[in-house]
Symmetry: C2
Subunit: 228 residues, 2 copies
């Protein structure tokens, strides 16, 4: 009954066209698991519902994975890979630390889908495996922000404070957008809100006032051992 157009694609390239009913890959299961997670949390990553959604049965699943935890591990690994790759791909080539933080901000407030997924995964921090991945991703994000603030001329401690402050604001905005979207404005109001946060969370050392529209490049301070 199945079409059986044997392709057997490796893990490095996404099929891009699911082609109705090809043979499933482990990554297809992992992607479906992430989708389910974004929708219904960790508990939604169940073998039989996923199999139904993919149009197959458990027989397929237990061929690719040893058990449910293996699927979770694969899904979380895929998520971690996406996070780091996307972040590095979109804002990694930006030299100016100010513009980097701004980009992070706009990405964080624009990509609702990835934010929702993050909240869903983070909500299951009880699970030790999940906790491990969440820790790595969060610490990496924070470290990136700390670097940005240090490149702006802040000493390490204050850079950590500002980075934590900014990261907390990202996360909180995600929560607000998910739980009470009517409290998050749209259109020009949102742009005002965004500008307020950016202006507030990226202060210039010593002087807070001046330059509302233009964000002049700040000369990074030498910080003892390493340059920015």
């Amino acid at each position: 009954m199945p079409l059986t157009a044997r392709v057997c694609l490796s893990l490095k390239s996404t099929p891009s066209v699911p082609d109705a009913k090809q043979n499933l890959t482990a990554e297809a299961w992992a992607r479906a698991a992430l989708d389910a997670m974004a929708s219904g949390g960790l508990e939604a990553v169940a073998v039989e519902p996923l199999a139904r959604r993919l149009g197959v049965t458990k027989g397929s699943f237990y061929w690719h994975f040893a058990n449910r935890e293996a699927l979770l591990r694969a899904a979380l690994a895929l998520w971690e890979r996406r996070e780091t790759e996307e972040v590095l791909a979109r804002i990694g080539d930006e030299a100016d630390p100010y513009a980097r933080i701004v980009k992070v901000f706009k990405e964080a407030n624009a990509g609702y889908r990835s934010g929702r997924l993050y909240l869903a995964i983070a909500a299951a921090e009880d699970h030790p495996l999940v906790n491990e991945f969440v820790r790595r991703v969060s610490e990496r994000r924070m470290a990136y922000l700390v670097e940005c603030y240090e490149a702006l001329g802040f000493e390490p401690t204050r850079a950590q404070h500002w980075a934590r402050f900014a990261y907390a604001t990202f996360m909180g905005n995600l929560q607000i957008r998910r739980d009470t979207p009517e409290l998050m404005p749209g259109g020009p109001q949102f742009n005002e809100y965004l500008k307020l946060m950016i202006k507030t969370l990226i202060p210039r050392e010593g002087a807070d006032r001046g330059a509302e529209e233009s964000h002049p490049h700040v000369v990074p301070m030498r910080q003892s051992g390493g340059g920015a």
Copy 2:
């Protein structure tokens, strides 16, 4: 076998002493449900595990509640009551809006238990019943903050922006403390962090600079015709 010390306490007073094995009340079930929720999320609110934890069987539960959803409703109602009561009790008598926001901040960053519970409940926004309660609580909190910022002299739109900003920071700090507690400093470092957020999130209209240690009371502006 049970001690059977008939007391039959009403819903308005907590027993204060569980006394080993009294007859359970509906509120005792609701409190247990909130505890389970804070630990394991919405899925942890299961009848049989809760019964085991309370030392009884399902027979007790289905005497007090019609079904699981009724327990959820009672638990969420208890949560909402606690939230509003506690907030109003602790910072309701403060006249100065600046001090009110500061108190909100310190409470939000101090009470980790209630924050964890909030995150656990908010993580189940899929559930329509949960969503309803989360919306009410969040909107009430936001409205309170908006009032504070308006009392500080901000026009409504900017007051909403600042309130949302501050609220997002609260929520984000909760997330950070839960997911990556090692990124949240303790002791004097935390006080520095707190002071930075307070100083940044409660600006004085027009002038951002000045008064690092002393926070002078700002005269609230009349906002009939629109201030700022």
